[in-house]
Amino acid sequence: MLYLALWRIGLQEALQYRAESVIWFLFDVLPPIMMVFLWLTAYEGQASVAGYSLQAMLQYTVGVMVLRNVVTAHVEWDVSYQIRQGTLSMHLVRPMNTWALWFMTGLAARTVRALMLLPVLLACLVWLGSYLETPEWGTGIGALAASLVLAYMISFFTKLGIGFLAFWLTDITGTLTLVEVVAWVFGGMLLPLELLPDVLRPIAALLPFQYIYHVPMSLLLGRLDPAEVQTTLGVQAAWAGGLVLLAGAIWQRGLRRYEAVGG
């Protein structure tokens, strides 16, 4: 019940700053739309790009637009702001889990984003109709749903950890920018990882970001065989678990430091 209330408060906050929301929304929507235009033109000259047909490529591009909006957490701003301003203390003394507060407000923000995305998605369906028609629900909707939940966890706890860096840094923007750049290239946040040159592919395998974007999309497009699905979900779960532990460790060390500063 408490968590539902937190989610509702988060919804109200997100709806209060509508103009702001629309501007951030453009950052996640315009690049994929730009890529749809580019792919439609590029495939006039060839039938396949790095093993993707036009249909698969457009499904990846529109799918990744959904993931950028619905599965990508942006909790780092709230967290770092509260640490810097000291308003974190207010949350700490309340008889409630502070992480749960952030988790629920984060979910509320994603809910609002999903609602904003709906008309854009419908327009894409009308525009690209036949290309988006038959997603080959490769390995069943269950595996995909599990993968999406894990993707959100990975994104959320990565961003939470980055937010915690505010215990040490006055400004997390630089760190965040670097992480974003890496996620764009090695996560498949705009282009499928098959387009990466062979020398760079191993780097993507060492990072969590492909488990937020590229892996759920591969599941949706049925690019993994059944044996791979099990292990992939396992690795995804391991990343989610590992990142929870990592964020927890940073949180513990940061809190010690925070209390020291607060006197």
């Binding site: 315009l30 730009m34 235009f37 033109t41 590029a42 000259g45 290239v185 282009l191 387009l195 990466l196």
Partner: protein
């Protein structure tokens, strides 16, 4: 004019001194911003390494497009980003009054007070991409091509500024929209692909109304020697019109401005 140059020199000096005070942050932010400059070319490389050509553009020609895009993006960030980001704050705190009292053009002061050196290295990364493109294409651009290219890059910088200023001037009307300075960013980011790939209404919109083609595609065409003279003239006119509009809109909005403090 002399007076404006002197004031501007003082602003630049002041910003440099402030920047050098926090050197670690400066170094980190500079590295991060270089990351974006590299990302743009990496993404283009991922696409054009796997695709022979798109609407006549191949990887070599994309070096010209991305290089110009990175250059214009970073020059406008250096000159205008901090000013555009601060305008809504000035309005919300009632500090715009102090600007209006100064015996100098208020549009000049709110647009040029701060310079952000963190984005300066990116300008040279962009330039390097362009030079690599020229090398790979074995281009021998004559004085006309180079002159036209530079003219369009200057126009792009001014047009982006004008559009940016128009959008942030809305904070005199709307009150608090914290991220209004970022509204223009995802739009100008569309310059990362050749405007020729857009279809339907999008292409004329991004060529003739919103100066997206002007940022990278048209200068690249100028360097390749395939730009129609009529298009170049039109873009100069568009830039002038945007600058004029930005000034009229600012003056008009000021008549509606009733400070936050009083």
């Amino acid at each position: 004019m002399r007076r404006y140059a002197r004031v501007y020199a003082a602003c630049v000096r002041n910003c440099l001194v402030r920047e050098l005070e926090f050197r670690a942050n400066f170094a980190l932010s500079t590295t991060a911003n270089l990351g974006w400059a590299i990302l743009s070319m990496l993404l283009a490389g991922m696409i054009f390494g796997n695709v022979r050509q798109v609407a006549g553009w191949d990887l070599d020609r994309m070096f010209l497009v991305i290089g110009t895009y990175v250059m214009v993006e970073h020059v406008t960030s250096v000159l205008f980003q901090p000013n555009m980001a601060k305008l809504s704050e000035l309005v919300n705190r009632g500090e715009l009054d102090f600007v209006l009292m100064k015996p100098i053009s208020s549009q000049f002061l709110v647009s040029a007070r701060y310079v952000d050196f963190k984005d300066l290295p990116g300008v040279f990364v962009g330039l390097a991409y362009v030079l690599v493109g020229v090398q790979r294409l074995e281009l021998r651009p004559g004085p006309i091509e180079v002159g036209l290219y530079l003219l369009l890059v200057v126009c792009a910088t001014l047009a982006v500024y004008a559009l940016w200023f128009i959008t942030v001037t809305f904070s005199l009307w709307t009150g608090r929209v914290n991220n209004i300075a970022y509204l223009i960013v995802p739009v100008t980011d569309l310059a990362r692909v050749p405007t020729d790939v857009f279809r339907g209404l999008a292409r004329p919109l991004l060529t003739f109304a919103i100066p997206v083609a002007l940022i990278a595609t048209l200068p690249a065409k100028a360097l390749l020697g395939v730009l129609e003279p009529g298009m170049a003239s039109y873009q100069v006119g568009l830039t002038a019109a945007l600058l004029w509009t930005s000034h009229r809109f600012w003056r008009y909005s000021l008549t509606r401005y009733s400070s936050a403090s009083s």
